[in-house]
Assembly symmetry: C2
Homo-oligomer: 636 residues x 2
């Protein structure tokens, strides 16, 4: 599949954009006119730079408001087109996007339109240019791709074809199956964009909220399957108008974009397979001119292998884990790293951190069928590899960096949930004074991990976990907090063995001169462990002196108002600072620890088939954490 991207997707100047596209590995680009008009590069410079970078200049766009106009305006439009065709010749480009008229169309007559498009095609022919006519979803008279194609058919000129843009088609819920009926030589270009399903006017939706494939909710694999079946083999190019991408680092965004196309290519091939095209023989897919490359296969991870917290000041963390009921399993034989566990929940404290590093979640290990295959897949998806020093006799972890810089390690899972690498730990260590060694009988697993995402990499993270780890994004939630709404996106496996919560946290802005200004730490992250008996776990932890997050009394009154709980149960919840939720499928009990650095822990018990995360309780946690952070800052 020939990959492309429109320059309008990216931030920066035309030069910066072109360089980033080459680094990300795109075959070609679409030149968005404004990027050329505002550039100090001459058309000849652009042509040379593209050649040097190995980038095709696949589409010049957009040419607006051409057809359905009176003759005097049409002549003016032909003159305008003539100047652009000449410019394209200097650029060495041969295809231009002409979109259906939005602004100046006054005559709704398909015959006239065909006649006008025919004149444009003739002019284009004189310049060796091909016109790709695209139906905008909000086109005044032509807004449907089949209508645009009928006009192209009626004109029947070799220099006039159509451009199919997934946004304009899927935003209007048009059926994509009829794409297969279009003759391949009449499809001059294909643009793909994904989007979240939003109930708003389609123009604003299109101009601000498009995302890369895999970051939204459109059925793009199906769209691409129909395009492949139509026999198209030209560029598949991203055209994404997104307010955040326009502000983000150009190279990062270009890589995110490339990842989305690589993933879409695989998904399209899978859709074809699943829809009867190539029952048992992948090679047969080649009967379509579009070659769809495959990726190393990935299955959902079977579970968390470990979570790692990094700090060079581990004392508070050790106390917290110990009081929570974790057992100290020793130090690594060669590295400055500790292992703590409770049943199959393993937490690594990595002390190889810069000086005065407060505890922060640094890495997650996932159990996969084959770490090598999973790593190969991630690397083909442009995930940066994380180097980790190992000795000859130690297990080699395949590591990649997630968009928020969390290190993701792909581990060999085991049927019984144990991990072979733990044998590398063993050097004994003295417990701190007064810390009772907890019983190791409590069974626990990592239930979920909650990671804060920088706002400019939130969509990128969704695609990363979708494509590289086969996690499935769930509908997102918004949780109120004292510093603003927190956007919360759950990514999980179908069997719920892995649950990851990505939070896009607001940044509160305080005025200079107010107390605590600039001292607020970044958003907190946490690791949640599931146990069978939360009340017993909490009571034991309380006995060991654990510092619980203190839940306000008002919460329990409201809980009672909502659920009419048994008074004894309610007083147990209150005594132990437990939170509670219930839905039609089951119940959820949980508690939080105090925070050290930017990390805290959660303990949960899932009763019945409760599948959530106690979302109604999240605002309470945020408020109490905000309060204690504020109090800390005031006392500094």
């Amino acid at each position: 599949m020939r990959t492309g991207i429109a320059t309008v997707c990216l931030s920066g100047t035309l030069k910066e954009k072109m360089q980033a596209c080459a680094i990300a590995g795109f075959d070609g680009i679409e030149i968005f006119e404004q990027d050329l008009v505002t550039s100090s590069l001459s058309p000849e410079d652009v042509r040379k730079m593209a050649a040097d970078l190995g980038l095709g200049l696949d589409l010049y766009q957009p040419f607006r408001d051409f057809d359905s106009v009176p003759e005097n305006i049409l002549r003016e439009n032909l003159r305008r087109a003539d100047t652009k065709f000449k410019l394209m010749s200097r650029l060495g480009m041969d295809t231009i996007l002409v979109c259906t008229n939005v602004g100046t169309a006054t005559i709704d007559d398909d015959e006239l339109r065909a006649e006008q498009l025919g004149r444009l095609a003739e002019l284009a022919e004189n310049h060796g240019v091909k016109v790709a006519y695209e139906a905008l979803a909000w086109g005044k008279y032509v807004s449907d791709y089949e209508h645009a194609h009928r006009l192209v058919d009626a004109v029947d000129h070799p220099n006039l074809g159509t451009c199919l843009d997934s946004f304009h088609i899927l935003s209007r819920d048009w059926d994509t199956a009829p794409i297969e009926a279009i003759k391949p030589e009449k499809i001059f270009f294909v643009q793909v964009a994904d989007a979240p399903k939003l109930a708003m006017d389609v123009l604003s939706w299109s101009r601000h909220y498009r995302v890369f494939p895999g970051e939204g909710q459109f059925e793009l694999a199906k769209f691409m399957g129909h395009v492949a079946r139509a026999g198209y083999s030209g560029p598949v190019s991203l055209e994404i108008f997104n307010d955040v991408f326009r502000q983000s680092d150009v190279e990062r965004t270009a890589v995110d974009a490339m990842r989305s196309l690589i993933w879409l290519e695989e998904q399209s091939a899978k859709w074809l397979d699943a829809n009867g095209d190539v029952p048992d023989n992948a090679a047969n897919r080649r009967r379509y001119p579009m070659e769809l490359a495959t990726l190393p296969k990935v299955a959902e991870p079977a579970g968390f292998n470990f979570a790692e917290v990094k700090t060079d000041e581990p004392a508070q963390l050790e106390t917290l884990l110990g009081r929570l009921g974790f057992e100290f399993d020793g130090r690594h034989r060669t590295k400055d790293v500790q292992l703590w566990s409770m049943g199959q929940a393993r937490v690594i404290i990595n002390e190889q951190a810069p000086s005065h590093s407060e505890p922060a979640i640094a890495a997650l290990g996932f159990d996969v069928d084959s770490p090598v295959i999973a790593s190969a897949r991630a690397q083909q998806l442009k995930a940066p590899v994380v180097p980790r020093k190992v000795q000859a006799d130690e297990e080699v972890f395949q590591g990649i960096a997630a968009p928020d810089s969390t290190e993701i390690f792909l581990c060999q899972g085991s049927p019984d949930g144990t991990a072979a690498w733990t044998s590398e730990f063993g050097q004994s260590r003295e417990f701190g004074e007064g810390l009772e060694h907890p019983s190791s009988e409590t069974q626990a697993v990592i239930d979920h991990v909650n990671l804060a995402q920088p706002w400019q990499h939130f969509d990128e993270a969704v695609l990363f976990y979708t494509s590289a780890l086969a996690l499935e994004p769930q509908p997102f939630a918004e949780v109120p907090s004292p510093s603003g709404l927190v956007r919360s996106q759950v990514m999980q496996t179908a069997d719920r063995a892995v649950r990851l919560v990505l939070n896009l946290a607001p940044v509160i802005q305080q005025e200079p001169g107010r107390q605590g200004v600039g001292q607020r730490k970044s958003y907190q992250e946490h690791i949640a462990f599931a146990v069978d008996d939360l009340v017993a776990t909490a009571r034991a932890a309380k006995g060991r002196g654990l510092e619980f997050l203190q839940i306000p009394a008002n919460y329990y009154e409201d809980l009672d108002a909502r659920f009419a709980l048994d008074p004894v149960f309610l007083s147990t919840l209150k005594e132990l600072n437990l939170l509670y939720d219930r839905d039609a499928n089951g119940e959820f009990l949980h508690f939080y620890t105090a925070t050290v650095g930017s990390v805290f822990f959660e303990m949960v018990e899932r009763r019945g088939n409760y599948d959530g995360y106690g979302a109604p309780n999240a605002p309470v946690r945020h408020a109490v954490q905000y309060d204690s952070l504020h109090a800390q800052n005031l006392h500094r």
Copy 2:
């Protein structure tokens, strides 16, 4: 008018919110339940704190999903209500908001609803509580305020009334005139919210995009006029769900909120005047129980008096102004301040700046009828006063701080556009070597000023200039730039003597390790001057060696493609780096200077009745400025 605000409008904890509301001067607040549930303050603490702060606790909210349910759910709902009524008694509160059912309603029967609401009213009566029933715009069966009122009427119980919320009424375009028919004793509460007119689903619109009155597009003065005529005299309370306000400094937002109510009060009184209620006698307005306080009157400013740039390193700025054609009018007799002028365009260079302050726009002077009255008005609208030292014989400026900290000075205008204070300047100064003294014959005025706004104070700025200076907000535009979309809001007087452009600039995020990281300055601002003959002005400036912003050749090719310009004219534009725009009303020529510090200048010529700002050219300016800033950073 009794002023109120719901705690959900603000960031922070309940305690922080209450304190901020008291400081801003609100009469009362609405307790949003979640703020209480997540608070460590007991209901008794809240009651005492409110009393100490002099804040009424006017409304407890929301109580959801009560009516239109089967009997078993209704009993559960009554139990739930009972716990909340008891809680309210501990809080010392007497009014609760019950909104129409969205989630659990299954029976669409007004008789049943009335019966169920009657039972709630009886229960409320036992607790001394009043129930304010509100139609949500997205209520399942009841979404219209008149429908809610009919139900209240049918129940006819002293403890059941209605709550009118401007958002739920105006978002659906309901007619507001029938409000007058509601008996005042049946209106238990009034909530006001403004909003931009957005074409999106009403729930998302409501939950994220509400703004304070005067910051949106709803006809709130009319709404309030009908409420006053109905005889209502209770609280008028803000209930604004806004993603930005939730993240902004709580005290700043509370003041912004208070300003919006003070302004709305005046606008409501004006609406009543304009609609025949009190033809010539403001005192008559008192026949309505709601007293609407008046503000010192303000007229639109007659023009810019001056613009001030602050820096302790003025050399580059002096060169730029001199080459642009400005005349040096001397230094102030007592302050370290220079005056430069071109006709009636006056620029002050204030050197009383901290050391190594790069030039930045610091103040604007506006000509008003009466500086004292305008200042009194601004201060009643909670604008912070700016102190400025003056000697006994100098003109005293009335100064206030705009939300972005620009100092706004209210000056006595003069019919001929001169300014008396200029006589305080005169001490001579040597021109720099090689700088030719420009001719003083060019007539110029300040055409517009473009100020960058911090994202968290953008709406606040719109209300500030609307309410304190009587500028009128125009529909906003979005301009692409290499670092993202720039939201651009024009505020102007009807006669265009004052034009102010507020730009909400994106912050580009670069990855660590990339070139230029962290060195980008904040967004640039500029002052634009209008002259009669731009070509002559530009040519003279070029002769003096002015550093123009260099416009790319591609721009002129595109200009020609769009407008088919006379070749001689086009080559003049190109030679002098002039930009051009045209619309049905006239033509616009302009050029930009290079930037010093965060300031640059623009020269414009308006031909015919051209009323814009050359918006199609703004992306070119952004791109070239981005490029030169980037080049500067790379060379550091």
